[in-house]
Amino acid sequence: MIKEIRFLIAKEIQLELRKKYAINGILLYLVSTIFICYLSFSLKSASISVTTWNTLFWIIILFTAVNTVAKSFIQEKEGIWLYYYSLVSPQGLIISKIVYNTLLMVVLSLIGLLFYSLVLGNPVINHQLFIVTVVVASISFSTALTMVSAIAAKAGNNTTLMAILGFPTLVPSLLMTIKITRNALDGLSLATSFNEILTLVAINMIIITVSFLLFPYLWRS
């Protein structure tokens, strides 16, 4: 099983590197969204409050996550399902997709944070806590969205469906994340937000477990 997962992740990375346009597309999407925010707030002359800075960042990451993870199942061709079906176990497939999307999201959100700080400034005081939260939140977004994208792919590759199914399930993690990063912005230490981070991790565990149990049923149809 672990060998299978490792193999599938390696396959995903290879595919991603082979057709670079997909990842480049997402990167460009992320960078242009940040730049549009910069221009729309006309930050040369005006400034935004810390709360706005924080919320805006998470909304950008959220939409990037939806677009990034959506392609993991939705962009698969019809025939490839049959191919997977004959070769790998469903559990291996969902876990490998989750792990791969998580890796991708962590990289993307860190790049996003870098560019976002470059353009819109960086009022964060506790950088360590902020970066830990970015990593944990990327994991939650990608785990919840991987399962949702599998469901949406089954329902006729509908991206609207992906959004309406995904957003409500993401809200708990999103609210938690914004709360923790608020602490990071205020310069509170990591220890004060430990409980919140633990809750976030616990929500992740629930979602991963449920995905692991449910995916075999989804895949059979």
């Binding site: 006729g156 708990p172 809750t199």
Partner: protein, 219 residues
């Protein structure tokens, strides 16, 4: 007649809830005053909602296990009823909030969480609507239903407790246990929970039978 004893119990319990809820003595408290009677109408809505949504999740699991169409029908109708209870819960809560907090919607974590919970289940119906094949519709929506229910639990029970809220029982505010020194409220509250839940089960049963019959006519 033998089988319908619980329907009679439901009617009796709800009559008792309405009459007793409005007429029996309640603790006199500042700000809350008579709005405390909302306890018998607002809180049971959420109890009943969680119970019927739990039933919906349960039937979805059963459907995935044995693939019987009836379980899917039960899951859908329970989710329907859950939404109705949720909407009534939001309305009764908003009316109460208007008189105690001064606003219909005061951005309270509990209100927001409840609204998001409704979005999750509305998305469930959109998902069902977007699928053509009956078999696939039942299976995929069952998967989403279980997924949604497990996302709903932290949303309703864990997150509002971690943030400050004006809602009784949250953020350091006492729940009704602290107000209710002589247990007068409990005398109506528990029958009310049972009564509203039974009403939900009754409606689910009727709609389930209707669905089954119309399915048979179709075939």
């Amino acid at each position: 007649m033998k089988k319908s004893w619980w329907k009679l119990a439901c009617i009796a319990l709800l009559l008792y809830t309405v009459i007793g809820g409005f007429l029996l003595p309640v603790p006199r408290l500042n700000i809350l005053n008579e709005t405390i009677r909302n306890l018998h109408f607002h809180v049971p809505m959420w109890f009943a909602m969680v119970i019927v949504l739990g039933a919906s999740c349960f039937y979805s699991i059963l459907y995935l296990k044995n693939g019987k169409e009836n379980n899917d029908f039960k899951a859908v109708e329970s989710a329907n009823m859950g939404i109705i209870f949720g909407v009534f819960g939001l309305i009764t809560g908003a009316i109460w909030a208007k008189f105690t907090w001064g606003e219909w919607w005061s951005n309270d974590p509990k209100q927001n969480a409840a609204a998001i919970g409704m979005f999750i289940y509305l998305a469930y119906f959109i998902l069902r609507g977007s699928l053509e094949d009956e078999n696939q519709k039942a299976r995929i929506s069952a998967v989403y239903n279980i997924f949604a229910f497990s996302a709903l639990i932290p949303l309703l029970f864990i997150l509002p407790r971690l943030t400050d809220s004006l809602h009784p029982g949250n953020g350091g505010n006492p729940g009704f246990n602290a107000y209710d020194l002589d247990s007068n409220l409990r005398l109506v509250f528990y029958p009310a929970v049972l009564g509203w839940t039974l009403l939900g089960v009754w409606i689910i049963e009727l709609r389930y039978r209707l669905r089954k019959i119309s399915k048979q006519i179709e075939d």
